[in-house]
């Protein structure tokens, strides 16, 4: 393969992928594992919809249903949406800012493997007496040691491990975006996807730390007889809700902001216009990020904090509608008067706008504290956040997949299949979730595994389930499309969409050093600027020379593996008849983790150089199709 220098080619394929620190390969790993978790959690959703097809159905037991709602939510948010977004952030952000890699390639790999092993740890719960069953929010006292089963321990430890991974990746992105921009790429010339990645990473740093603290407290409560959340012994259950939502609300923005960024890349490209109101978009992103931390209590209106507190948070919540509205109008104005191309990516991006508005409107409805007592814990809430997540994040992700696929894998996805997929998904999505608004308003509670006949819920639940089937068919079609396009689609050059941003200036496949010469950026949308004012290629900012690259390392894998063992050991503390002492497992895990860290610290590793001759040769080979 031309995209790799000899050092990389000397490794076996498996060893290469296990030890890689290349941001592009890690992105592919994120993409694959995120997709697998996505399919798994999606299947759970289909099972839940089958259970709710008929009144008093007994397809699933109540306990299994509880485990499914919990795992569906947990996996979708932590182990599917986050890694899928990270996949694109990893692949695209360094290319968009003109960098050779992220700031800390080793930490990048560590972030992936921690997420991966944390996800495996949560999933293992199925084999040890059942998955967590207290909802993805894992509210105490339901999740405390008196009432919650072993599954909760898997939730606590698994999320702790994968949370560390997300946290270090977030730090890595911040440092990358602040320090690794190419000459001329000022903050206000960065593509909006980089901006939203930056704000998202900041939110990760500030939001995942409370989550880690909360999970640690819950772990102390459950395994070491703590009493933070046990009212009988002086604890307070509301504290968990606060800590969880101090994390949980920013988490929503952590997920949706990168999707905003993707939309803001796709719409200008296929409207052949620069993004309308770039500066306003940047500041709207920053304001959304800031306000995202000031509104968490709207999840707790019915807890009984008090009327003044509720009012303050209700108003703060409604204020978020303003920067979001700015964004919506900016996307519309970008499209207005543009030369529009409606391919699958653009279909997803443009239909994102009205769907997201629907979710936003119900969001403001839910923000009104007095009325929230009616909506709380009904399907109205379920409909609201699925409009945000599916209509916002997933449409953004599918759009981004179609948009950046030629850059990542060298060929486009089939457009015909893509459009069929889009319309099936779109129709199925609205079928599934629109009726759930009404179901919620007539009083169907969420998280309940069945309902009675003759309450006017039968038809709408049936419609909802049919919609879920249509949506699943669309996702299956997407998978078929990936396989089909891999065999049939023609190879593409570096710039198949007539792109505007820097990632389209690299040849496809992207060489492992990204840019042979760091480009000189002269404007927002730098490649488009060069196409209009220059000769269509980026001007180099440095002479061609040896390129310094980081060595691959197995330590990220082993550090994460050790934490996986240690986490499992802590869970074993609560197991009835463990085969070996939990402390042995914890010790082994600790030794692997800290041993790997020590080895990594002691061993000198200065990376290697790709020689100037190799670079020139690689550029010549990829340049012919770039």
């Amino acid at each position: 393969m031309v995209r790799e220098a000899t050092n990389t080619l000397q490794k076996s394929v498996l060893w290469d992928w296990l030890t890689t620190v290349d941001h592009k390969k890690l992105a592919v790993l994120y993409l694959i594992s995120g997709t697998l978790f996505f399919l798994k959690a999606g299947l759970m959703a289909v099972f839940m919809r089958i259970q709710l097809m008929f009144p008093m159905n007994d397809f699933l037991s109540g306990q299994t249903f509880n485990e499914f709602i919990t795992m569906h939510g947990t996996i979708m948010l932590f182990l599917a949406a986050t890694p899928l977004l990270f996949a694109f952030m990893n692949y695209i952000v360094p290319l968009q800012i003109g960098a050779r890699d992220v700031a800390f390639p080793f930490v990048n790999a560590l972030g992936f493997w921690l997420f991966f092993f944390g996800g495996i740890l949560v999933s293992l719960s199925w084999f040890f007496g059942g998955a967590p069953d207290a909802g993805w929010t894992s509210y105490v006292p339901l999740a405390s040691r008196d009432y919650g089963g072993l599954g909760i321990d898997f939730y606590v430890l698994g999320l702790q491990v994968s949370g560390i991974g997300t946290l270090v990746s977030g730090i890595n992105f911040i440092v990358t975006i602040i320090n690794m921009r190419a000459p001329g790429m000022t903050m206000m010339r960065m593509p909006l996807f980089c901006w939203t990645t930056l704000v998202t990473s900041i939110l990760i740093v500030f939001a995942f730390t409370p989550l880690a603290a909360g999970l640690a407290l819950l772990m102390l409560d459950r395994m070491f007889d703590g009493m933070f959340f046990i009212p009988g012994e002086g604890g307070n259950v509301v504290i968990w809700q606060h800590i969880f939502w101090i994390f949980g609300h920013p988490e929503v923005y952590i997920l949706v902001l990168p999707a905003f960024g993707m939309i803001s890349e796709i719409i200008p490209t296929f409207s052949k216009k620069r993004l309308f109101g770039y500066t306003a978009m940047v500041f709207a992103t920053l304001i959304i990020g800031f306000l995202g931390f000031m509104v968490w209590m709207h999840h707790m209106f019915t807890v009984g904090i008090g009327p003044i507190a509720n009012s303050v948070f209700a108003i703060a919540t409604m204020i978020i509608g303003i920067p979001t509205g700015i964004k919506i109008f900016n996307w519309l104005f970008t499209m207005w008067g543009g030369k529009l191309t409606f391919n699958t990516a653009m279909l997803c991006a443009s239909s994102f706008v009205p769907t997201f508005v629907l979710g936003g409107v119900t969001g403001v409805m839910l923000a009104m504290a007095p009325v929230d007592h009616l909506y709380h814990d009904t399907y109205f809430v379920v409909a609201h956040f699925h409009y945000i997540i599916l209509g916002g994040i997933v449409l953004g992700l599918i759009g981004a997949t179609f948009y950046w696929y030629p850059k990542m894998f060298g060929h486009k996805l089939n457009e015909t299949l893509g459009k069929i997929m889009f319309w099936m998904f779109y129709v199925g999505f609205h079928l599934t979730f629109f009726v759930q608004h009404i179901l919620g308003l007539i009083g169907m509670p969420r998280r309940v595994y069945t309902y009675l006949e003759g309450q006017g819920m039968d038809t709408m639940n049936m419609i909802s389930t049919i919609g879920a089937f249509v949506m699943s068919a669309a996702i299956i079609l997407l998978v078929i499309n990936v396989v089909y396009s891999a065999m049939k689609s023609p190879r593409e050059g570096g710039d198949p969409w007539d792109g505007r941003t820097l990632e389209w200036a690299t040849p496809t496949p992207v060489p492992e050093y990204n840019f042979a010469q760091t480009p000189q950026v002269r404007s927002l949308d730098p490649l488009f600027y060069e196409k209009i004012h220059g000769d269509g290629t980026m001007k180099p900012a440095e002479p061609i020379g040896d390129i310094h690259m980081p060595n691959g390392s197995i330590y990220p894998f082993t550090i994460s593996l050790g934490l996986f063992f240690a986490g499992f050991g802590f869970i074993m503390l609560n197991m009835e008849n463990a085969i070996i002492s939990p402390w042995i497992v914890i010790a082994v895990g600790g030794i692997i983790t800290f041993g790997s860290m020590a080895l990594h610290s002691v061993k000198e590793d200065h990376g290697y150089h790709i020689s100037k001759e190799t670079v020139e040769q690689m550029e010549k080979e990829v340049g012919t199709n770039g």
Binding site: I202, F206, N236, I305, G306, P307
Partner: protein, 114 residues
């Protein structure tokens, strides 16, 4: 890669100006550190030796903690330095975000309704 990347340099490549600056910085850090230890000791002594009356002890210690926090952020976290815009932004936004968190966790826990 070069063989001698891990070897220390014999002579510093800093200019005399830079060396003077770094020495001064070192002296400031040491003094700040000593002062912080002193006020920490002061807090312990104040309570342990009954120097201040009980009713005044709590505000006194909180006052010392305030000074301590300021010194920590200002000197150890380099809030005082120029060209630290990004780290300073992060520290300040961290403080801004943590205030409602602390207020909520102390007051809004359902015991008293506000």
């Amino acid at each position: 890669m070069g063989e001698n990347l891990s070897q220390p340099f014999e002579k510093s490549s800093m200019t005399p100006e830079e060396i003077r600056k770094i020495n001064r910085e070192q002296r400031i850090q040491t003094i700040a550190f000593g002062f912080m230890i002193a006020i920490t000791l002061l807090a312990f002594i104040a309570v342990g030796a009954d120097v201040v009356p009980g009713s005044f002890a709590i505000p006194f210690i909180l006052g010392l903690a305030g000074i301590q926090l300021f010194l920590q952020l200002y000197y150890f976290m380099h809030l005082k330095d120029k060209d630290h815009g990004w780290p300073n932004t992060f520290i300040v936004s961290g403080i801004v975000l943590v205030i409602p968190t602390i207020v909520a966790l102390m007051l809004l826990i359902g015991v008293t309704k506000y």
